[in-house]
Assembly symmetry: C2
């Protein structure tokens, strides 16, 4: 199945917030997102990876404008969720390679990650969907990242 990358999307100035080492048991994620929803905090990405000793980190991104409110919610809930600390990176950008036929992610991922590496861009977080591979990177590297991914997939220069 040919991979057709149709474009590179990005969003500047997001904030990534992570509560580290929450209890890995039913109800923890529900409590956190119910509290964020009550405060009408618009969450963009939600990321949870791998458990260790029945604990896990839950991360999410919000607009820069919502980051202070979201941090308050997390700090207030930290103890109840068993979390050890709340970390916030206010200067992240989201960059995605978008295409059809992504079922064969692995080639697209390898190409995209190699392009970022050659441009000296460190990948902070990764998520995927059927049509996208999305990375979080430092905001100041977003122009370089978009350009290098464009080049790697030989996308035309038209905006």
């Amino acid at each position: 199945e040919d991979i057709v990358i149709s474009g590179v999307a990005f969003r500047r100035s997001e904030a990534k917030i992570t509560i580290r080492n929450v209890n890995d048991e039913p109800g923890v994620a529900a409590k956190l997102f119910t509290a964020l929803a009550k405060k009408h905090i618009q969450v963009d990405m939600i990321i949870q990876n791998e458990t260790l000793n029945q604990r896990n980190d839950i991360g999410f991104t919000v607009s820069g404008a919502d980051s202070a409110k979201a941090l308050e919610v997390c700090e207030a809930l930290k103890a109840e969720l068993g979390g050890s600390e709340v970390v916030c990176d206010r200067n992240v950008a989201k960059v995605s390679a978008v295409g059809v036929g992504m079922q064969t992610h692995v080639d697209v991922a390898a190409t995209m990650f190699r392009a970022l590496s050659e441009a000296g861009v460190n990948i902070l977080s990764i998520t995927t969907s059927e049509i996208k591979i999305t990375v979080l990177i430092a905001e100041e590297q977003v122009d370089r990242a978009v350009q290098t991914i464009h080049d790697a997939f030989e996308l035309s220069k038209t905006a």
Copy 2:
């Protein structure tokens, strides 16, 4: 914007593989996915969350059939990537709430996570896209999870 959940999608028998504590520097993700691509291992989800002391965990899912080959690649690369261990959970299932208007994820997330919690389903991993919220859970809980999410979003019973 009204949230319209149009359905619940799932995929049984995936395997989740994670390399823990790899060096958090450009090139690491590129090396891993280039090696997986060379062996034609079809990767589904890719998840990386939050760095700690310049190290990070990279996780991904493959079909049950590809898990042994993928594990070999990871074990062979572990030292070069600075990883401390490779973990594999062979009995995971992927469950997604799919809908439009997901820009307001937080309400959908809260509803979905509450439903899973009430059904006693532990969330192993989480990723999102503009139209989906996806969780990994233990394979034996997939029927219960799909049913409880259906009910929570009042989706009709038609299959």
